[in-house]
């Protein structure tokens, strides 16, 4: 059951319908409702509560994407698709933020202006954002304080107008090892910014170090998910209804080409429509373009707000590489948060390398018991028998996983499209992910794998090994598919998140990204959402919607 909240009739027009309640939707709903606008949030997923969460690798208590909702993957248009999941997200109230790891890196100045700094990349959608870091800084600070981020300034930090609201989480053995080794290499490690509380904040308790962040709900509410932070404030405003298990199928428009209502199915499959003065799509970088493509009409034959043909294109995620080390003494990395130290010394793209790309490094462990039993040992280790069993005991608490997180270059051919050959239980077409890595995205991963191996070696492990770089076959960071820009011919939303084609339709989520950043997009998704909510509210008050 949902907590107490105001409800709205589908017979009356509300000010805003927000589609999606995750990292972006939670912020937008909270900001608009506390400003006095009447908001209905349509979320396909159910309510989950701390009592549902389980420290259980077989059932985390969060549920899953509707297994009847089809996805497929192919490397290129024209390839026979593999019918499997390829766009990973969690459909619950609060979205994927409910089970995320909480790495909250700000973007740096360079992420917004890289095209101007470095020049074009032929055959790609490499572009500047229409906004800068300075435009977003105060909203990053809002995320720090209102959502709750632990951290301490680092040597590579972009300028910040206010200190972190609380200190970093206690350093783990992986953090100590990374810090020492990085310093020995002349690098500049610093405490990881994490959306997990190190101290009581906004009425929530700090982390209890149980170790079940990644892929699990936080029963303490120490992890700063939208569910723990924004959704309760939206409901308490008295101007917001979070309507769970409401799967949006279509956005309707009138003869003037304005959005009028949002058509959705409830969990029993009954169809409803919620009229609204304006709609904000926050459904994530896969579901937002899918919804626009599903909302085609004679006036919008390529899909709603898609005169640019950019809806669903320029899909990006982030590369992630792994170098492992095993140590003499116990690390007990399976307790507490995933990451406590990061390295940004290779953040910028270096044209002298001859290819584009940059990233960041952190140290973590990333395994629970079953996952470790299946895949935690070095690739040369036996997979069964007495030696396998003995090694598990000698590796589980002694292993770290140094990660490199890297850029993806936007390509028009990497897409979210509709799969007309498959439909879900509501009759909606399936979602198809088409993705082939740009060669530079593979090369920068190899560069980062070498840096990760180098820093593991500097930790003096008993042994080290790595996971080879592989081509991308699915994405959890769903970015770029309704990109922001000043030119309606080459972008979907303007610098205020308003679609170029429909004046009362806004989009704010990972799909708004113009570049991928270096590996941790959620902080920027939420900064964009705070900014978008402010400008959208201003437009509404000035009757400019």
């Amino acid at each position: 059951m949902s907590p107490r909240q105001r409800t709205y009739s589908t017979r009356a027009e509300v000010d805003f319908v927000v589609v999606g309640s995750g990292a972006a939707g939670g912020v937008i709903a909270k900001e608009l409702s506390t400003a006095g606008f009447d908001v209905v949030v349509l979320e396909q997923g159910p309510w989950r509560h701390p009592a549902d969460y389980r420290h259980d690798e077989i059932d985390d208590g969060l549920g899953s994407r509707d297994p009847s909702d089809p996805q497929c993957f192919r490397r290129a248009e024209g390839d026979e698709p593999e019918r499997r999941s390829a766009a990973y997200y969690l459909p619950v109230i609060g979205g994927t933020s409910v089970h995320f790891t909480g790495n909250y890196w700000r973007f740096r100045e360079v992420d917004f202006i890289e095209r101007s700094l470095l020049g074009p990349l032929e055959g790609t959608g490499f572009a500047d954002w229409p906004i800068t870091y300075q435009d977003l800084e105060s909203y990053y600070t809002k995320v720090d304080w209102e959502v709750g981020v632990s951290g301490a300034p680092g040597p590579h930090d972009p300028p910040r107008s206010r200190p972190y609201p609380m200190p970093p989480l206690p350093v783990k053995s992986s953090g100590v090892l990374l810090e020492r080794a990085a310093l020995a290499l002349g690098w500049h490690p610093f405490p990881a910014p994490m959306a997990i509380l190190s101290q009581p904040h906004n009425g929530r308790p700090p982390c209890q170090h149980c170790g079940w962040c990644m892929g699990f709900g936080c029963e303490y509410h120490a992890k700063s998910s939208s569910l723990a932070t924004m959704i309760p404030l939206a409901q308490a405003s008295g101007h917001c209804e979070i309507r769970a298990e409401s799967t949006v199928a279509r956005i309707e428009t009138d003869a003037r080409g304005r959005v009028t209502e949002v058509v959705y199915f409830d969990k029993e499959g009954a169809q409803h429509a919620q009229p609204a003065k304006a709609v904000v799509l926050c459904a994530n970088g896969a579901e937002t373009p899918r919804l626009l493509l599903m909302s085609d009409s004679p006036r919008f034959p390529r899909g709603l707000a898609n005169s640019s043909d950019c809806v669903g294109r320029y899909l990006m995620g982030n590369g992630q590489v792994h170098a492992y080390g095993r140590f003499e003494h116990p690390l007990n990395e399976h307790k507490s948060v995933q990451v406590t130290r990061v390295v940004w010394d290779f953040y910028d793209s270096d044209p002298s390398r001859g290819y584009h790309g940059g990233g960041g490094i952190d140290a973590r462990f990333q395994f629970n018991p079953i996952g470790f039993g299946l895949n935690g040992l070095p690739p040369t280790a036996p997979k069964w028998g007495a030696e396998y069993k003995r090694m598990l005991g000698r590796y589980f608490n002694y292993t770290i996983d140094v990660n490199g997180h890297t850029t993806n270059i936007p390509l028009a051919t990497n897409t979210i499209t509709l799969d007309r050959e498959a439909t879900d239980r509501f009759g909606r077409p399936g979602l198809c992910v088409t993705y082939t890595d740009h060669p530079d995205d593979i090369t920068i991963q190899k560069f980062f794998l070498e840096r990760c191996k180098e820093v593991v070696a500097a930790m003096s492990p008993l042994e080290q090994w790595e996971r080879p770089v592989r081509e991308t076959r699915g994405q959890a960071h769903l970015l770029g598919t309704c990109r922001m820009g000043n030119d309606p011919a080459t972008s979907v939303v303007d610098r205020f998140h308003r679609t170029h084609d429909v004046s009362n339709l806004f989009i704010c989520d990972g799909s708004s990204f113009v570049s991928s950043g270096r590996g941790q997009p959620t902080m920027t998704i939420q900064a964009l959402a705070f900014r978008a909510a402010e400008v959208i509210g201003d437009f509404a008050r000035r009757r400019e919607i």
Binding site: P67, Y88, Q320, L331, N332, K389
Partner: protein, 194 residues
């Protein structure tokens, strides 16, 4: 190795929340019922509900090769076969047909190599090990992967699912399940320094 053909579960368990979620999405629509069922049925003496006795004997033999009993408890002490029996009747039911087909093929392999020797579970350990090695090294080791996945799950899942009895799997790893923990976490972050 068979990079592209890596079993879906192995791939999904490898790294990351998203992958974990996808695995759940792909495989476990009836998972809540499963957990309830497993809790209700936990205990080593319960009769098999999904597997025949012969099937259970062979699967138990494979699990005991994967986690042999030596100076520490193995798959048998963990009750892995009871986890498998429940899982294959419930949240892993989609694997049951493949497991059964694999067991039939396993028997054919045993019959061909060791006529009259009986079932896989009746073979001497070294012969069992030789056959398991052959299964593992196949170009498409689906049966090996499925049984290994179930065995590892049965060794390390919550004991309420019927395996990992008395948390012997967690003890093997040194896994600490406590919901509240205080630093220091490990040797290198102790206040006195490494």
């Amino acid at each position: 190795m068979h990079d592209d053909a890596v079993s879906r579960r192995d791939f999904l368990y490898t790294s990351g929340a998203a992958l974990h979620g996808a695995w759940i999405a792909a495989n476990l629509p009836a998972i809540r019922a499963a957990a309830k069922h497993a809790r209700a049925a936990a205990g080593t003496s319960a009769p098999f509900q999904t597997l025949s006795t012969a099937e259970a004997r062979d699967l138990d033999a494979i699990a005991a090769l994967i986690f042999p009993t030596d100076d520490t408890p193995g798959a048998r002490e963990a009750g892995v076969i009871h986890f498998m029996d429940r899982a294959l009747g419930d949240f892993a039911a989609e694997s049951l047909e493949a497991i059964r087909a694999g067991l039939v093929e396993l028997q054919a392999t045993v019959d061909a190599a060791h006529p009259g020797a009986g079932a896989f579970a009746d073979l001497p350990l070294e012969r069992q090990a030789a056959i398991l090695t052959e299964l593992e090294q196949r170009e498409e080791p689906d049966f090996f992967d499925e049984v290994r996945t179930l065995t590892v799950q049965g060794m390390f899942a919550l004991s309420s699912y019927g395996g990992n009895q008395h948390d012997v799997g967690w003890a093997l790893l040194g896994f600490d399940a406590s919901p509240v923990f205080r630093p220091p976490f490990g040797y290198y972050d102790r206040p006195e320094g490494p």
